[in-house]
Point group: C2
Chain length 381, copies 2
């Protein structure tokens, strides 16, 4: 096990009707800006619950943070917050709204070129505190300090670190209004966040392995229930909890992490706007295939513990494990190829080119360079 430091100060308020607890969590002395996506919060009743809970509070609203939140959009939020002297941000939405709000929180008090907050990790700014109400289980952003921001002008999807939310409210009942496509993408996003932290080498930490496998096993068990028209509350609650636990540091103590699938997936989205979860479902099985030499032992362990694959040659077991993974994503009505999602072949070339020009060598062994990405993307066709 590697040395590590762990700290996660986010307060989680989880369960039915928990939005009503807002007054116990928020001071009336704050000048609050609520941040939203495109309008689903008004359809699913969340907006009304928030307005009711915030009676007597001083707040303004900022609407329109899109999926894959854009720097250009968020800067309007930053300007609005500055103008209104906002002291507290409350993000109400999924990962995009929360990530976007983390950027706003980081930018409000920054005097320089805000684009640099996405490219220069050394800049230290004073955060404006934020909290979240989660309406989509997927990214885990509600319990970490990371964010992914798209820059439209440059077709970049950039990873930024910001502040942890002060608290996050998670009511599984809100998830009932989501289209099944978003549930499917949330399951896949959670599954692959876990694999990114798990699928490296064996023998680093038995406990972290078990906890990662615990999330994977839970998702495999509840996915069929979640895809039904009316999933049970307990399945929805375990889904929402799993999504939060998959990216809050709890399963990555003292171990190596990969994240190549995410980096390739971000690139696909940056050029095509294809939904994040779909890009991951396309890329992950091919990353496993291309890197099966170095990840083989862990793939075998994953195949045995999550999919019950224990017979056949090692080669066959690895092959079957990758097939199970892909079939799982397909069982959620997600197409796991680029062509199946109408992505033109030219996109792969652009990704490889940028990977080469930036001299990226990623993955736990820092060996996934442009040539390997070419091979991975060719298999994604």
């Amino acid at each position: 096990m590697k040395n590590f430091t762990f700290e996660n100060p986010v307060k989680i308020v989880f369960g039915k009707d928990t939005i009503a607890q807002l007054p116990q969590l928020l001071s009336k002395n704050e000048k609050i800006m609520l941040t939203f996506g495109g309008g689903s919060a008004k359809k699913n009743g969340v907006y009304d619950q928030v307005v009711k809970a915030l009676e007597g509070y001083d707040y303004t609203e900022f609407w329109g943070i899109e999926a894959n939140p854009r720097f250009e959009t968020l800067m309007k939020g930053v300007e609005a917050a500055r103008k209104e002297n906002v002291t507290f941000l409350l993000a109400i939405g999924g990962g995009s709204v929360i990530d976007g709000t983390k950027f706003i929180s980081k930018a409000i008090k920054y005097n320089g070129d805000e684009y640099e907050l996405l490219t220069n990790r050394k800049i230290i700014t004073e955060y404006t505190p934020l909290a979240t109400i989660v309406t989509l289980a997927a990214t885990g952003s509600e319990m970490n300090n990371g964010a992914v921001i798209t820059v439209e002008r440059t077709h970049e999807k950039l990873v930024m670190s910001g502040d942890f939310p002060k608290f996050s409210i998670l009511d599984p009942e809100i998830l009932y209004s989501l289209p099944k496509f978003q549930i499917a993408c949330g399951i896949i996003d959670t599954f692959i966040h876990t694999l990114e932290q798990y699928l490296t080498k064996t023998g680093q930490s038995r406990l972290m392995d078990r906890w990662a496998e615990g999330i994977l096993q839970s998702l495999v068990e509840i996915a069929p229930e979640l895809m039904k028209p009316e999933p049970s509350y307990d399945a929805m609650a375990d889904f929402m909890l799993s999504a939060t636990m998959a990216l809050n540091g709890f399963i990555s103590m003292g171990i190596e992490e990969d994240w190549v699938t995410h980096m390739i997936g971000h690139e696909i989205t940056a050029y095509t706007n294809l939904t994040h979860g779909v890009t991951l479902a396309i890329v992950m099985p091919r990353v496993m295939e291309v890197l099966k030499e170095e990840k083989g032992d862990k793939i075998l362990q994953y195949g045995e513990r999550v999919w019950g694959i224990t017979s056949g040659t090692l080669e066959e077991r690895i092959h079957n494990t990758i097939a199970c993974t892909r079939e799982f994503f397909e069982s959620l009505d997600i197409r796991t190829s680029l062509s199946g999602n109408d992505i033109p072949e030219s996109v792969s070339g652009k990704i490889v080119e940028r990977w080469r020009s930036r001299k990226w060598k990623l993955g736990e062994n820092r060996n996934v360079d442009a040539d390997l990405v070419r091979i991975i993307l060719d298999k994604c066709k």
Copy 2:
């Protein structure tokens, strides 16, 4: 899943040579009191490491917090801290030193009768901040806000809630100096903390079940290695991590908990001073046996996933699972009966009497009354 609130602000600094990071964690403006147990910190080199790291700091020392830390001893620490105007407490030891320091932290600024801090949960005091350096993996106290304090005068072992440590330093290499008896008790304490949160009813949260089982499976796997003269660093690290993760709230989100074994174990220790881990190893198998009706489904799941018990009648599987649990404790050279530890029979009578006089009804179903405790203790003979 039940509604729940989760928050754990403790910063964990984990790994080799991490005591040297103290200067990055502690301000030189504090007036610090270091708290210790009986002297092992001087033998195992921890004291020297701390003194070196704290060069230039203003600190005093308080020695002599015993196993099952006593109110009477701790009050001397409170008085010393008041006299020296201490602003920060650094506990260096195992669960007893940490628990005791949580009491000191709670009592320093309290003007009333400090005994009431152990009996009246409604009293609010201003905590003096504390941090820990862990020298014994077992109680998980380094990452929670609970403490158990013994009152010598009344033969009581009382559970108190206090402050979370600001940070906890965990260096697995420190554990190499521990006698195997303490390693064994640490494994058992961790195992039973997990069972207390897990062994209630099925179907509350798949994820929390998997995470609890992950700790149990890890402990079963590494225990033989830990009992060797020179365990591997990775096994020691997984042991230390498991102990911390078993009682920090990570495996108890949204679920019912039991804690009857601990309550009976605390009573045994209060009357006899028998080591905490040993009392748990005696009591838990009998709690499972006596409550097998209501805990049966979960015992079956535990038996299958942790011990691989899948054949036989349900009754046989439950029987074998309890036997495996007891044999596991015995394999660590712990005797799992009261007589095997020279505890006189009269002790059981005193425990039942106090249980009856306080009208306790404990466990997840609030049905473990004095009569049931009598039956459990009779089986412990």
